[in-house]
């Protein structure tokens, strides 16, 4: 069963990166996830503060806008998709994630299975 771990942070340092965990913490965690054979995909976002939104109206015309500008608390810093047997195992990996510490939080959501 695949789970998406959304890594949220509410504190951003002056370079726009997530505060409170070191690069070494992340490298160690990433290595652990990959060595456990559960890693499906994962990325960290380059810029936690700015975003660009695209909407397409009923005529098929796209509109591009600046934003949304993330409020504190819900800054998406990155994600992992892991493949583990059940929610308890996924929650355990989420609890070990450096992004869950301090003011951060990891949101775990199951990925839909359309009967592969």
């Amino acid at each position: 069963m695949k789970y998406l771990m959304l890594i949220n942070t509410d504190a951003v340092d002056e370079n726009g990166g997530a505060a409170e965990c070191t690069v070494e913490d992340w490298m160690a965690y990433d290595k652990e996830v990959k060595e456990a054979g559960i890693w499906v995909s994962g990325e960290s976002l380059a810029d936690l503060v700015t975003a660009t939104t695209v909407r397409v109206d009923e005529n098929g015309t796209p509109t591009v806008t600046d934003g949304p500008f993330a409020e504190s608390r819900e800054l998406l810093g990155g994600f992992y998709v892991i493949d583990v047997p059940d929610l308890d195992v996924a929650l355990d990996w989420a609890a070990r994630c450096p992004g869950a510490r301090g003011s951060g939080a990891v949101v775990v959501r199951p990925v839909a299975d359309f009967g592969a």
């Binding site: 059940d86 929610l87 308890d88 929650l91 355990d92 199951p110 299975d113």
Partner: protein, 422 residues
Amino acid sequence: MPEPAAPLTSIEAVFREERGRLLASLAGTFGDLDLAEDVTADAIEAALVRWPADGVPAKPGAWLLTTARRKAVDRLRRDRTYAARLAVMRVDARRAGLDGPAPAETPETELPDERLQLFFTCAHPALLDEDRIALTLRCLGGLTTAEVARAFLVPPATMAKRIVRAKRKIKENRIPFRVPRGDEWARRLPGVLQVVYSIFTEGYAASSGQHLQRADLAEEAIRLTRILHRLLPGEREVAGLLALLLLIHARREARCGESGEPVLLEEQDRGRWDRAMIEEGRALIRRALAGGPPGVYGVQAAIAALHDEAADVATTDWPQIVALYDVLLTITSSPVVAMNRAVAVAMRDGPEAGLVLLDELASEPRLRDYHPFAMARADLLHRLGRLPEAAQAYRRALELAGTEPERAHLRRRLEAVDREDN
């Protein structure tokens, strides 16, 4: 004329014990609570048709489980999705002994008791508190959805939605039917006990409605705790919780007056307390408090026992009760515990001392709108003869109290203060 068919509720009541065991076992095997519920109902229905004709089988529990399993496999074979195929494979693997030894059968019903894992699933931290309670009552208490709805004074449709939501979360997130191990066990057991305790407190002191207590919920909570205690005889906090519930429930007849009004501890007819229940509770406390650091339920049970053992309020061992509250505050920092300690201090050292402590707690967010806090303050102010302040505090409690009998009681207290004040 043929007898009308018995309503489903009574059928479920007859098979209440079996139903919980069947559900737990089938949910564990198939990993699907909805399927487990459906085939449990099918198997019970089959028993009602077959047993009167063929006679009750030698091992009725085993018959029910085999029948339910066969029906589940039939359903899954018809279903061609990947998940269904996987579930069938899991059953086959189990049958072939690939999945470890089968759980031990218990002599009384020859059905395996795998209810512990269902307790943990129903109380999973990924579920909402109210959903955990509803699901536990539905799956392990064997209450129908309508009965759970009635117990919590919500429309059946609301409760049905709640239960569906919880089951969907279990299914889509694949919350496992498994007893946690290691560190997780210690982290998760308190959640299971909290669910049962919440069921009890809702029965003991209903938060709303026309009645002060709903004995059916309190008794259901005790029944569930007994199951947990039988499954986990070595867990001291389970023994502590069972002791606590028994020691409080022993006073049920005396704590409610003829017109349903609450009777305070100091005014209760202690002759109406259930002695056998108190004895059972006291025996359990020894197990709860021996051989390790005290737990929250064990200590609360010890406090309840001191009340139950005393002939009246005057001879109650208040110094010991204050000491136990001090112990409790080292384990939990609950402001409600601090409030109860303040009331015990008032009994030991006089109302003035208790009031000082209560006023220190006045800014606690959890106590600000908690009517027992306003009532405790009002009682102490009344005893100190500070009548206008007492009246004000009773009015505050009256605004906050949820049940009609409590409000009636507070109105009488307020009238008494007003009379003295004139």
